[in-house]
């Protein structure tokens, strides 16, 4: 074969370009190629059949991911107006060979990693030594597989800056506001046959001439990467020629930047030896639904398709042969969206907006308004000058909420299949959209339906959602349900995103089904967990996920951790969590019986260490109060299981001890009163003991503070208590009084106004003044003099406490 013979037809495109798709189809119809070769990972060629199925609704993407840790991913998205996708459809309809010819995904992932500046390992670089230059600077197009999982490195940004300035200059020379508008006016709107292809070829050649040398020196990685890709593409083209296709009947569809160098595939094709030397990571491919939101630059995907839905409208208008319809369609859709959100705009305004947009276009000598001009017109007419009025509607029309879908059975990983099966089983398929929806679940058995499956539909949904949450698949977010329904209801926000799909694919490494993956994740977490709080949370998670076996694992872990713990606060928190699970577990149809012994055990330990733990600072006492409340609650709710007698004994002991934190002793006393285990006489005796003259005020008042934290009404009605308190305070000297004041103020601060009035009445009776007067004094505003006294108190030295 002579070199002169081998000249294939190359059609350079922007990857998401309706104009390009349109011209490409015309071109294909004219050339009638027997082979259509497309820039894209060559190992994904087998997916072309799935991509062109009529049941596959774009936007969809080819996702490549490494099948071992650390997971790296790369994406090749396709919209309905992607020239590549249209070329695939054309080829499948005409029975032409259709192949993807870019580097296989494994190599692309490996090189992508190297390009990110791992300075030690630059295996791919050696090939550049004799290389011709190349540049990763297609006209703002997305040739490079974009990393899905992490943002592009700093290098790429710089590369962007260098090339951006070139593009800005082009736009400026053409008298346009930005490069996007320049592109739209000069490429997308260009209806002349061949103009698109020829100008891209010329553009590509000149661009390379301009920027190559600099890139070679400034961004050698980028440069080398492009070179390797082009060499590989040539190799693939040659293979197709060798397979017997006439070069004249081969059309290569590639990013604009590569267009100029692929026409003659013999020059610089990759040899077998070079191919062998390519670094590669073991990887898998799958198709996934994609979304316009993700495709737009709004979510950080700067591939130059800032308005996917707008371009889709453009494509549809072109396909139906009426590209002039676009401005009318765009502006009336915007107006309709505005009306739907309650801002009325008349048809007359839409008409004027179309006229204005066309006027703006003619100022630039354009044949049709560009997106920028349509937006300006919308702002002026529909927004009455204000962008804020129309901004939301415009984003909806520009970006759209479309989300792609795949034909059943097309998804390539077992986990994707499993999730789809689950969604179908639980009648959730309709929630797989890009629009967030609220979903309220009632976990109780639905007794009005006949089948078991239907009766627990919501519960099973809840299991699935919790499992997704555990796998960190961002499909659902939980929302706090109202307190009255917290036990049996759950509120969720459901929204599908491509990120969710990517996470699903990544989770494949954990297991083949959602359940297995969850089990794996739970086991990992349990192994890593070090505190009993974590362990009890994991048990909770296991119950919520409906995974009984893991609950048992969790129980074991918690038990072994608890055996070493002496921290009452932590133990009781874990016990409280368990108690919740035991009490409400049957709603989730979990057999919680195995947890009861553990609960018993935790409770027992909590009681045993109570007295020790109560020897603590005032600060730690807050945590202890919560712990004691928890334990008391457990004692009430599970009195059949736990040792309540022990609890009472421990409480009495703490209540009587003088060497523990007085607040906790007071609180223990309050709990005893509440439980009816302390008689009025005992209480009176205790009060008089605690509040007898001579007791330091921080002890006395601190105790009172603890006491007053529970069963207020019982206390309020006890006249004797107040007279004792009154006497005690009277007995304090000034200095002591000031100290006591601190505690008392804190104790009373949590009393409601009504409770304060009741105290006032009681005190009034004691002091023999009118109850109302007393109430006025206690609840009224402070007078200036009193303010001053309080100010003085603020200077009080708390150093002693």
């Amino acid at each position: 074969m002579k070199a002169a013979d081998v000249k294939v037809s190359v059609f350079g495109v922007r990857h998401l370009s309706p104009g390009g798709a349109c011209h490409l189809l015309d071109y294909l119809d004219r050339i009638k190629p027997t082979a259509v070769l497309i820039e894209g990972p060559s190992d994904a060629s087998g997916m072309i059949g799935d991509l062109v199925q009529p049941t596959t609704v774009p936007p969809v993407a080819v996702l490549a991911f490494t099948d071992e840790m650390p997971v790296r991913t790369a994406l090749w998205p396709f919209a309905v107006y992607s020239p590549e996708l249209q070329a695939m459809r054309w080829a499948s309809k005409r029975g032409a060979l259709c192949q993807l010819i870019d580097l296989p995904s494994g190599a692309a992932l490996a090189l992508q990693h190297l390009r990110r500046g791992d300075s030690e390992d630059r295996g791919g670089r050696r090939e550049t030594d004799e290389a011709e230059p190349a540049e990763e600077a297609e006209p703002a197009a997305n040739a490079s597989p974009n990393a899905a999982a992490e943002p592009e490195g700093a290098e790429e940004l710089e590369a962007g800056e260098v090339s951006r300035s070139i593009y800005e200059r082009i736009a400026e020379l053409a008298g346009e506001h930005d490069y996007e508008t320049y592109w739209e006016r000069h490429y997308e709107h260009n209806a002349n046959p061949d103009a698109y292809r020829d100008s891209i070829l010329a553009f590509s050649a000149q661009m390379r001439e301009l920027g190559e040398e600099r890139e070679r020196s400034e961004q050698p990685e980028e440069h080398a990467y492009n070179y390797v890709r082009e060499a590989y593409m040539r190799r693939q083209i040659l293979k197709v020629i060798e397979a017997g296709h006439d070069p004249a009947k081969i059309v290569v569809v590639c990013g604009a930047y590569h267009a100029a160098v692929l026409e003659n595939p013999l020059e610089g094709a990759m040899t077998d030896a070079e191919f062998e030397a390519l670094p590669s990571r073991s990887s898998k491919l799958t198709l996934m639904p994609y979304s316009y939101y993700r495709l737009s630059s709004l979510s950080g995907y700067g591939a130059g398709n800032n308005a996917p839905h707008y371009y889709q409208m453009m494509w549809e208008a072109m396909e139906s042969g009426n590209p002039d319809e676009l401005p009318r369609l765009y502006l009336s859709t915007a107006a309709r969206t505005l009306r739907a959100s309650g801002t009325h705009r008349s048809t007359a305004e839409v008409i004027e907006a179309v006229r204005l947009a066309e006027g703006l276009a003619s100022l630039h000598g354009g044949s049709a308004p560009t997106l920028l001009e349509l937006r300006d017109a919308a702002q002026t007419l529909l927004g009455r000058g204000e962008l804020s009025v129309v901004a939301e509607a415009l984003v909806r029309v520009d970006v759209g909420t479309e989300i792609g879908s795949l034909a059943e059975g097309v998804s390539q990983t077992p986990l994707q299949d499993d999730l789809n099966r689950e969604l179908k089983r639980l009648k959730l398929t309709k929630y797989k959209t890009a629009v967030a929806a609220d979903l309220s679940l009632d976990l109780r058995e639905n007794r009005r339906v006949s089948s078991q499956e239907a009766a627990y539909l919501d519960l099973n949904r809840s299991f699935l959602f919790h499992r997704l949450e555990l796998l960190e698949i961002p499909f659902v977010r939980s929302r706090q349900a109202g307190p009255e329904r917290a036990v049996w209801a759950e509120d969720w926000i459901v929204q599908w995103t491509p990120e969710a799909e990517i996470r699903v694919v990544e989770s494949t490494l954990l297991g083949e089904t959602i359940e297995i993956a969850c089990a794996h994740r739970l086991r990992e977490k349990l192994e890593a967990c070090t505190s009993i709080a974590e362990a009890s949370a994991l048990i909770d998670t296991a119950v919520r996920c409906g995974m009984t076996a893991q609950m048992e694992d969790g129980r074991r872990v918690l038990q072994s951790l608890a055996a070493d713990s002496r921290d009452t606060a932590q133990i009781s928190a874990a016990a409280a969590r368990l108690s919740g699970i035991v009490a409400y577990g049957d709603i989730r149809r979990a057999d919680t019986a195995p947890l009861v012994p553990l609960l018993e055990q935790l409770f027992f330990r909590g009681c045993l260490y109570l007295s020790d733990a109560a020897n603590c600072s005032d600060e730690a006492a807050y945590g202890m109060i919560a712990a004691m409340s928890d334990l008391n609650k457990i004692a009430q709710e599970h009195d059949d299981a736990v040792d309540t007698a022990l609890w009472s004994r421990e409480l009495s002991e703490l209540s009587e001890r003088d060497d523990r934190n007085p607040k906790l002793s007071g609180f223990a006393c309050a709990l005893l009163l509440e439980r009816g285990e302390m008689s009025a006489e005992q209480c009176a005796a205790e009060v008089s003991r605690r509040l007898s003259p001579g007791i330091p005020s921080d002890l006395g008042a601190g105790w009172f503070e603890g006491l007053s934290m529970r069963n207020r009404y019982a206390l309020l009605s006890r006249m004797s208590l107040w007279s004792q308190l009154n006497e005690y305070i009277n007995s304090l000297d000034d200095d002591e009084f000031k100290r006591a004041l601190v505690f008392l103020r804190r104790a009373f601060s949590s009393f409601s106004a009504h409770e304060k009035t009741m105290i006032a009445e009681t005190m009034g009776e004691l002091w023999g003044v009118n109850a109302e007067q007393a109430a006025e004094i206690l609840t009224g505003d402070l007078k200036g003099e009193e303010d001053k006294m309080l100010d003085e108190l603020n200077d009080f030295d708390f150093g002693d406490f």
Binding site: H177, E352, G359, S362, L363, L372, D376, T380, L381, G385
Partner: protein
């Protein structure tokens, strides 16, 4: 004729079509675009006139510096014979843009209705010469046409300044004019239809007290463009520099134009006080109650120049600037004074030696 010429030269302020006569002539001569009916040059030439560029060998000075797309929208509006409403805070060059647009499009920026609370419907439509009306009854000779009616007859662009200051009823007189493009005179049994090229550019203020809300029906008949305060320091600097130079020339102020450094300081202070934030976005500031627009910065600097010329050395000093700043920022109440004081001590004082002189002067002035 000669008398008219001297009169022109003595005018305090020349209308745009006379001030930039040369440029307009050059643009008309070099114009290769399609001229819409009733216009004197093509839309592209109007754009060049407003945003600057070249006409043959002549440099066209930019009249509106800032967002070029806004100007494009304004021109495209007039091409589609829609009325244009320019909205913005005081001092965002609304009237300036409207005057220059009419000057370029129709060559006559003098068909103006200046809206006030006292503007009546007659001033929008037509009124009568009552002596003639009484003597001869309603005749075409007794009819006094409003600037808008004259613009309709001539197919040119009329201006309606400060439309939001007029009473709502008066504003609404425009509704039928804008949709029917005719004014009927029932007394004469006739009606005046607008010739091609007729349009109205109205300006409205969003911030001042004493403005009337415009009805939705009227708003709907306008293409509305909101003119923003200059978007960045450089734009504002160049606007101020250019206008100060022009005004100084026309008033023949005998003072050196302000140094770039002084311009920078004034614009910086104005931008910071306007946005309530220092330029580096690190510190929050209080904004004074009044408007501190670019136009104020321009008049402040020309005032300071006049001060320097008349009572000083002719060289603008920090004291001259400080006096101007004091007047522009502290308008009516004591709160502004505190805001200014706070700014001086918290921001300006810490700005280093170049600002020291101005700081001292301002502080003394604000005592």
């Amino acid at each position: 004729m000669a008398a008219a010429k001297t009169k022109e030269q003595d005018a305090m302020r020349l209308p745009a079509e006379l001030l930039y006569q040369q440029e307009i002539e050059a643009l008309k001569k070099e114009d290769k675009g399609v001229v819409p009916p009733g216009w004197q040059m093509s839309p592209k030439a109007v754009l060049t006139y407003i945003t600057g560029g070249k006409a043959g060998k002549l440099d066209i000075t930019p009249k509106y510096i800032g967002n070029r797309r806004l100007v494009e929208m304004a021109i495209a509006t007039l091409v589609t014979d829609r009325a244009l409403l320019l909205i913005g805070e005081p001092g965002t060059a609304k009237s300036w843009l409207s005057e220059n647009l009419t000057a370029a499009v129709s060559g006559n920026s003098g068909l103006v209705v200046q809206g006030t609370a006292g503007t009546s419907e007659e001033q929008v439509r037509y009124s009568w010469n009552y002596a003639m009306l009484l003597a001869n009854g309603p005749t075409p000779e007794a009819l006094v046409r409003s600037p808008i009616m004259r613009a309709m007859e001539g197919g040119s662009v009329a201006r309606f300044e400060e439309i939001s200051r007029c009473a709502s009823e008066v504003q609404d007189a425009l509704i039928s004019i804008l949709s029917e493009k005719t004014v009927s005179v029932p007394e004469l049994g006739s009606e005046t239809s607008a010739r091609k090229g007729f349009s109205i550019i109205a300006t409205a203020n969003t911030r001042d007290r004493g403005v009337n809300e415009m009805s939705a029906a009227l708003k709907r008949r306008f293409n509305i463009i909101v003119l923003p305060a200059p978007s960045d320091l450089e734009t504002e600097l160049s606007i101020v520099k250019k206008r100060v130079g022009e005004i100084a020339a026309s008033y023949q102020l005998q003072a050196a134009p302000p140094a770039d450094e002084a311009l920078l300081k004034v614009v910086t202070i104005f931008r910071e006080l306007r946005s309530g934030m220092t330029l580096d976005r690190k510190e929050k500031l209080k904004s004074p109650g009044g408007v501190i627009s670019t136009a104020e910065a321009i008049s402040l600097l020309t005032n300071s120049m006049a001060l320097a010329a008349s009572f000083g050395s002719g060289e603008m000093t920090d004291e001259d600037l400080a006096a101007g700043l004091q007047g522009a920022i502290v308008k009516d109440d004591d709160k502004d004074k505190l805001v200014w004081k706070e700014y001086l001590d918290n921001v300006m004082k810490k700005r280093g030696s170049e600002w020291r002189g101005l700081y001292q002067a301002c502080r003394e002035m604000n005592e």
